[in-house]
Symmetry: C2
Subunit: 243 residues, 2 copies
């Protein structure tokens, strides 16, 4: 029942722009950067292909040739920015470990706190009743994938409860993540509380889904955060404007 | 950090209509019934006080006198319908027990499955970026209260993990509940899967938040549902139209 199967990263929407000359690579960077900027400024409703083309110095027709639809272009812009950020996280935990997943969560929310308009616009799209499926699937699956590494790690060690399906669990953790981020965007969760709130909520689900040593490890982390606080990295100032 | 403190049930918005003659009581019933019907048909965007007044046979001015705002009237209509439904659930579990909370979840989702348009409209309001705070608070707090009975039961038996704050936990369980119901409304969770999906997700959070005998009890229920399936009551056909 995993919903995040489809992913723009697997589409060949802008292959022509990816595997090409430095000039075309630079043009692609500009287009996706202006796409994110416009989302942060105007949301999906006020998004204009004309304006993105103008700002990036590209004909509107070129945008459609490269990306087919506005929604596909936006989905790619979101995905590219997120993946690029992930690659720069100074992980200390191994792939598939709970440490690494918590490090990812902390860094991503810290980044989000510096990109409130952009993230608010994404949450509006994600939770809107008629949300575009390209954008929704991209946002959902990129968050699912990160959590799945950890969940599959538990599974391979036989540390998941028998009633847990890894993909469904990842879907539910993502529901919780986005729901908390959405409520932070709307001022229902305090800015200085959101990191710990999100990590605690997701680890609590994890503790309920795990057993044995896997669970013990999660509970040790929760105990540590409860007694000593959650470690918050300081990030260089991020801007949605700059891709 | 609990968000559901404010609740229309505590306001005196329509006191004049509550404590009055049978005729006025009947008029109130008609107004709230037409309010729900209009939400199910047109959502918040297409909601018309004129039309509700016309259908209920009441002057628009009377509606404003009794309820002050459209949003307050809608919040009351939602709250009244939900509370009335809760009162008719044939609980077997004691107040504060996990059994009772699971019974509530199962009955409420089974009801929701018969009221898809109405519930979809509510979810759109709840998750919209500019959602009205009267309606949001009412929807959030009525779900929080139900979960809090159970969570406070665990707390009084010292069966909650030390890092768990009961109100924050209830907020998070409600986030999960509404997020799953929202995804069901949008076709992302199958209709015949939604009851078990929601119960499993909420119990998994509960298992992560509980310890000792409290946790054992939750895990026993999850094991039972996993091996024998979840018991689904058959409900009489419900209609949003009829209050």
């Amino acid at each position: 029942m995993g919903q995040g199967k489809r992913n723009v990263a697997e589409s060949d929407g802008d292959q022509g722009l990816i595997y090409s000359s430095p000039a075309i690579h630079e043009r692609r960077r500009r287009i996706l950067e202006e796409t994110r900027k416009m989302i942060a400024e105007h949301g999906l409703a006020g998004f204009s292909m004309d304006e993105v083309g103008k700002r990036a110095g590209v004909a509107k027709r070129t945008l459609y040739n490269a990306y087919q639809t506005k929604e596909n272009m936006i989905a790619l812009a979101i995905h590219e920015y997120f993946e690029r950020y992930l690659q720069h996280i100074p992980y200390t935990g191994e792939i598939g470990s709970i440490q690494r997943n918590v490090e990812r969560m902390i860094f991503v929310i810290q980044r989000n706190r510096q990109l409130r308009n952009y993230i608010s616009a994404l949450m509006s799209i994600y939770f809107s009743a008629d949300s575009d499926s390209d954008i929704w699937n991209t946002m959902h699956s990129m968050a699912v994938e990160s959590n799945l590494q950890w969940i599959n790690g538990l599974k391979s060690k036989r540390q998941l409860q028998p009633w847990i399906d890894p993909v469904r669990l990842a879907d539910d953790i993502v529901r919780m993540e986005y729901s908390i981020i959405n409520d932070w965007c709307r001022g229902k969760i305090e800015d200085d509380q959101v990191v710990y709130h999100l990590v605690r909520a997701c680890l609590t689900i994890g503790a309920g889904a795990a057993r044995g040593a896997g669970r013990k490890e999660i509970e040790d982390m929760l105990t540590e955060f409860h007694t000593s606080g959650i470690p918050l990295p300081t990030l260089p100032t991020a801007r949605a404007k700059k891709g």
